[in-house]
Amino acid sequence: MSESIKQFLYLNRKAPYGTIYAWESLEVVLIGAAFDQDVSLAFVEDGVFQLTKNQDTSAVGMKNFSPTYAALGDYEVKKIYVEKESLEERGLSLDDLQHLTWEDEDDDWAEKDSIHLVTRSEMTAIMDGADVVFSF
């Protein structure tokens, strides 16, 4: 196996339905999480819609995969960055998003927040700090 753990950033920029990007990204994250990687997710632009609550796909005939985001904590994905400006530009706030958590086994399974609201400039720094960025 590789000598060092790489920092992978999965960048999500598209609305959840209409294209396959959002679901593909989530599948790659779940598969990749089985390996020794330091995984972060970033949601910018229309990608922030992927995390919204109460999604209803009955009219578009696609599977509603939004419940799967809640499993990310089980897959040790603990760093989910959402860009504040992208939310605001779409009239959304943190309250419109699912409350995603991970459980800290070393802290008596305490639930901790996975979603971190960051500014555009902070997001730039996060992208800059990653070894690999996958853009979806």
Partner: protein, 110 residues
């Protein structure tokens, strides 16, 4: 290859996973396990039911590492380890138990 359960036919994919998760009934697990020469005990059913609940909540079949941890949390450390789970499902707890539970093959399993 389709399987026969109580006179009903269930479609499966090329690897034997049920084509439609909503078709599932306990008889499916009984028939599949019989083909593997495995007798299902309460302990097996605990895992099968757990997987069905996991899918219901998250819409995915968990990877084995995730399953192990989740079982450990819900049923105790003595069950949340791969030795116990592989003891029950020798072909791999995620793959074999998911198949019995009517779930698709776990994401990330090759």
């Amino acid at each position: 290859m389709p399987i026969e359960v109580n006179g009903k036919t269930f479609e499966t994919d090329e690897e034997g996973y049920l084509a439609n998760i909503n078709d599932w009934e306990p008889g499916v697990a009984e028939v599949m396990s019989k083909e593997d020469d495995l007798e299902l005990t309460d302990e097996h059913w605990d895992i099968i039911n757990f997987l069905r609940e996991y899918y219901e909540e998250y819409q995915i079949a968990p990877a084995v590492r995730v399953l192990t941890k989740a079982v450990g949390k819900k049923m105790g450390k003595d069950k949340g380890n791969s030795k116990y789970l592989y003891g029950l499902f020798p072909y791999g707890p995620a793959k074999q138990a998911c198949r019995y539970a009517g779930l698709p093959k776990p994401t990330g399993c090759v």
